[in-house]
Symmetry: C2
Subunit: 328 residues, 2 copies
């Protein structure tokens, strides 16, 4: 897709910032452990959002590279620590950091990336960026970090619970996923020198596409074919994970359907996947999830109307669409 | 001791800042897990150093409360994560966070305290503090966090190694312990509006007493009586820990003494403690450690000469002495 080419292009400068930031880390095992997931790739959509929002409000992309790199490091830090907490052995098709270096070094690698992220934002300096804006960008980024921790705690709280309300589920994905994407678009707008209204609009834009991104993940798990998705369809069901479909169905279903769905989610048995999808469909939960994602993306795009036309604005528009167009 | 009364007095405002900062954390288990070690106490010397250095350069103590609270939260974060990494089940006479809440929640509790620390520094605002100074204070604090991670990685690298050079040992304790104490005194001086020379002198003061603090810890382990120390004498030897005495002896000793010391450190046998101390004494390693700590403290006190006389300056002087006077 055209938009992914642009994101890839923008990521060159981000990768360079990250490499410079991590270059001096000592000792060598800390250096390699903290670089591992970064070297494994990733789409780099979050840092592209920082750069694009900075440009969309009339700023220079160069001003925002350090903050963009910071946002990617925070994302990486949270992946490394989440993999330890969730006991996930693989990440981006490679062994997770704790799988290769052990938990103590993986904890440290996350901690040091977190520190490096803040170091990068404090290094943001350019004639046209007042120090107050750097502090506001820092506040934005740090606030999302607090939310990421809270979101992960909520997610862990959900484990084994099957009476999660839709409202609580949405709060969890807002904190765990959308808050950092909102921090990316908001901090980009701040560093780019956007007006208060622009900063607020782009912050909301980020939050909306962040929510849509997570809900689309839930949706893809049940409507894809395995080849496109790159993993077995229905694996969320087999793992008994909370998704928007699950919470929606559990709130609407008859006691009998509810009990059946719960027993499927608790079974871990792949052969039940289709039956769970049937129950979701009985309560229109799959359409419901898709509709919510679509509505979020449409609202996000509408918020861009207040911005002057520019290639960056068009890219943000296309990125919002990409959230729903992607197949994996 | 008089100076501990002053530190306790200063800690009241710091405790209030910390309580306010953590008050909103959600869900409740994240809130309690991240408060646990803080409620367990601690001497609060680091935050007192932030407040005292701010005052010593002519600033208002009030300006520095948020940074003082931040430094204490960073210290707490590192204790929580270190306890997981080192497998230590107890902290401050209480079960460690991971002992009570499990490792995943303990990782998160550390992460959220880390985030809250940076939030606190970004909230530092007063008419007389230019935003540039807040950013410089942030850089100071974040730089010490990177060093703490590197120091812990170096410390873990030392495990099982018995050919650690004195230089490497000193680098490790500088990063793991002294860097945060130096960040406390430096950031206090910055927030207090100190001159470049004052900031540099107080940063060095912090580094020197931080080094002395750790070396005194090593020293106390072999010269105390159990009642005063609050734990068995020689427990570093039983645990086979690197200390300044060990690295000094290993560099100076005959092959026979070296081999004997190594086999004692590897044995984990308490009955060998006195023999290890004999070997340390044969190479004057205990006196050597005490001399280095004393020299650091004297240098630290000398750096205070450039400051105008004030109660804060006197307290910093007394705190430097306290590092060597303390019995546990």
């Amino acid at each position: 897709m055209e938009i992914l080419k642009l994101v890839k292009n923008y990521s060159i400068g981000v990768d360079r910032e990250i490499e410079n930031a991590l270059d001096t880390l000592d000792p060598e095992n800390l250096h390699s452990a903290s670089n591992h997931i970064i070297k494994a790739g990733g789409k780099k959509i979050r840092p592209a959002l920082v750069l694009l929002t900075a440009e969309a409000v009339g700023g220079n992309r160069k001003w925002a590279y350090k903050t963009a790199a910071a946002v990617e490091l925070i994302h990486t830090f949270s992946l490394i620590h989440d993999d330890i907490m969730d006991g996930d052995e693989m990440r981006r098709g490679m062994p997770a950091v704790h799988t290769l270096w052990g938990e103590p070094m993986a904890i440290l690698a996350g901690d040091v990336l977190f520190s490096k992220a803040f170091e990068l934002v404090t290094q943001t300096q350019a004639e046209d960026i007042p120090s107050e804006n750097v502090i506001t960008a820092l506040k934005t980024v740090v606030d999302s970090c607090i939310k990421i921790c809270e979101g992960q705690a909520l997610d862990m709280d959900f484990e084994g619970k099957l009476d999660v309300k839709e409202e609580d589920y949405l709060k969890m994905i807002y904190k765990k996923t959308a808050a950092l994407i909102a921090a990316a678009t908001k901090s980009g707008a701040i560093i780019g020198g956007g007006s208060e209204e622009q900063v607020e609009a782009l912050s909301q834009y980020g939050e909306l596409i962040g929510m849509a991104f997570q809900i689309q993940d839930d949706y893809l798990d049940v409507i894809s074919d395995e080849e496109e998705l790159g993993k077995p369809v229905g694996s969320d069901i087999v793992e008994g994970k909370m998704t928007l479909m699950v919470v929606h169905t559990l709130e609407a279903a008859t006691d009998a359907d509810k009990e059946e769905l719960i027993s499927i989610l608790e079974s871990g048995d792949e052969s039940n996947t289709n039956r769970a999808i049937e129950i979701f469909n009985k309560y229109d939960s799959i359409t419901y999830a898709r509709d919510i994602a679509l509505e979020n993306v449409n609202q996000a795009k509408k918020l861009l109307d207040m911005m002057d036309d520019s290639p960056a604005k068009e890219a943000l528009y296309n990125l919002a669409d990409f959230v729903l167009e992607r197949k994996n």
